[in-house]
């Protein structure tokens, strides 16, 4: 339960930066790439967290670079490399059957398979991510809002990118067991999008997204126990439900404020 809560909060807070940078697909690509890394490192009997994190960090930096270049084919290259990495992982598993973790769990998430080591890793990464977001709040905000101008105002954008890529890779690695490779991206993106619908203030968005992410994690896991479905799936389904509610709410609210504005204008006339 604690694990689900933390993973949800972690994905929520990281998701804000992912969504606002317009890199929503990065979570998807990265989780697939990391899956390959995880399997390879287990084959080479390297520690799962270290192997997957290093692999993930390198992929995150590469994807980031490819996005900045803006050359045609960059997104295709990302797609090919990350999917190839994923395919490599699957190939190795089906050949050697050495992956210590359940195949289904890796793909769709299984909160029951969580070990103490997993939990410690989640706690550690959550703390790390929150410290980074707190300490580098201004730099991250500026670089996310306007990368070039942030540079002109003296923000060391390259370092900020590196630190962020590291945090992102670590987030995906520790979330994999709970959420599953295929569903992490949604868990990262949805809380941020929901909170974007609810507020126009970046700090509020960050706070809402953390709370919503944590809530979805907790409640989603509860549902998965109760209904006996894959934990990743139930977290994502539950947060999608929240998304629909938020969408309806914001359209409704938009309509109300518009009516009020029209009334005000009439009053002025």
């Amino acid at each position: 339960m604690l694990c689900a809560l933390l993973v949800g909060m972690l994905c929520g807070v990281i998701g804000v930066y992912i969504v606002m940078r317009g890199m929503s697909y990065i979570g998807h690509g990265l989780s697939h790439a990391i899956f390959g890394g995880a399997v390879v490192s287990s084959l080479m009997s390297i520690n799962f967290f270290i192997g997957a994190s290093v692999w993930g960090f390198i992929s995150a930096v590469l994807i980031n670079l490819a996005t900045k270049k803006k050359t045609i084919g960059a997104d295709a290259a990302i797609g090919i490399i990350t999917t190839a990495s994923f395919a490599l992982g699957i190939a190795i598993i089906s050949k050697f059957k050495t992956f210590t973790r359940g195949f289904d769990a890796a793909l769709f998430g299984n909160v029951l398979g969580i070990t103490n080591a997993d939990l410690i890793a989640v706690i550690f990464v959550t703390l790390f991510a929150f410290i980074i977001v707190l300490v580098f709040y201004k730099q991250l905000l500026f670089a996310t809002f306007d990368y070039d101008v942030a540079k002109y105002y003296g923000v060391p954008v390259i370092w900020i990118d590196v630190i962020f890529s590291m945090t992102l890779a670590a987030t995906i690695v520790v979330s994999m067991q709970v959420l599953g490779v295929t569903l992490i991206a949604a868990a990262v993106v949805i809380p941020a999008v929901v909170s974007r619908l609810l507020t126009n203030n970046f700090l509020h968005m960050l706070i809402f997204s953390t709370i919503i992410g944590g809530f979805c994690g907790l409640f989603g896991i509860y549902l998965s126990y109760y209904l006996d479905i894959a934990s990743g799936a139930s977290v994502v389904l539950f947060s999608s439900l929240l998304f629909i509610i938020a969408l309806l709410y914001s359209t409704y609210k938009g309509r109300i404020t518009r009516t009020i504005n029209i009334r005000k204008n009439k009053f002025h006339l």
């Binding site: 201004k138 070039d148 970046f202």
Partner: protein, 261 residues
């Protein structure tokens, strides 16, 4: 000319020495020679794609230089220690970003207030002072999309000004605003200039903005003309810059340009 620079212009702040540069092999800036002194107020004219934004960014060290050098305050542009305030062309802004006027202006303090989300007391006072000066105090909690064009320009100007810059670089600060707001923005810039801030700005407005400045540069990848409007507002210069035929007239000691279609 309406806006007059200070008299004692001696100290060289920015110097372009036969600079050629651009993006990935393209020669956007071609053999630029330019000296900007402390306290100057300079406008830059030129057609779309002539390299105005590129020239501004080269001062900020963000453009690849193929030959020549840019010296800023005695150092090369990558080691620049001047406090430069930059106002980007508003077309480049992501208006959907959930950020308020206050949060945007606070961004400008990043050099002095680096870590953690909160800012110091002096910082808060500075933000308050600048927003009052720019008439933004009522709008501090608005999201940036919910502003008029003039208010948006003033917000981004606020971000550039909040850290008391020595140099202000503005990319089309008067685009998308009405005549009165334009006048207000230009009056603010003029008074800053009189407090000693060096200003370099681009504009598309020849008569209402450029003709009022003490010094104007016409750019079309290279510098076509550089001087006071009275010296450089000639039919030949405008033809060389824009490829358009214009007529110049004089009124009240200022030169203006009439488009001939």
């Amino acid at each position: 000319m309406l806006y007059q620079s200070q008299n004692s212009l001696s100290e060289i702040l920015i110097q372009f020495d036969s600079v050629s540069g651009g993006y990935e092999g393209e020669m956007t800036l071609n053999n630029i020679n330019l000296i900007i002194k402390k306290g100057e107020f300079i406008g830059m004219l030129g057609p779309s794609g002539s390299g105005k934004t590129t020239l501004l960014k080269s001062v900020l060290g963000d453009i690849r230089i193929y030959s020549g050098e840019i010296i800023i305050n005695g150092k090369d542009e990558y080691k620049n220690e001047l406090n430069i305030g930059y106002v980007p062309q508003l077309e480049t802004i992501d208006w959907n970003f959930p950020i308020t006027v206050r949060q945007l202006i606070e961004m400008g303090m990043i050099r002095t207030s680096k870590y953690f989300p909160w800012i110091k007391k002096e910082g808060k006072l500075a933000v308050e002072a600048i927003s009052n000066r720019l008439g933004l105090e009522e709008l501090m909690n608005r999201q940036i999309r919910e502003l008029s064009g003039g208010q948006q320009q003033r917000t981004f100007l606020g971000r550039a000004l909040v850290s008391n810059p020595d140099v202000l670089i503005l990319d089309e600060p008067t685009s998308g605003v009405d005549i009165r707001t334009k006048e207000e923005i230009m009056a603010i810039l003029n008074s800053l200039n009189h407090q000693g801030v060096t200003i370099l700005m681009t504009t598309h407005e020849i008569n209402s903005v450029a003709s009022q400045l003490p010094r104007v540069i016409c750019l079309k990848n290279s510098i076509i003309a550089d001087g006071s409007p009275n010296e450089i507002f000639t039919e030949e210069n405008f033809y060389a810059t824009y490829g358009a035929t214009v007529k110049t007239i004089e009124h009240d000691g200022s030169k203006f340009v009439i488009e001939m279609l």
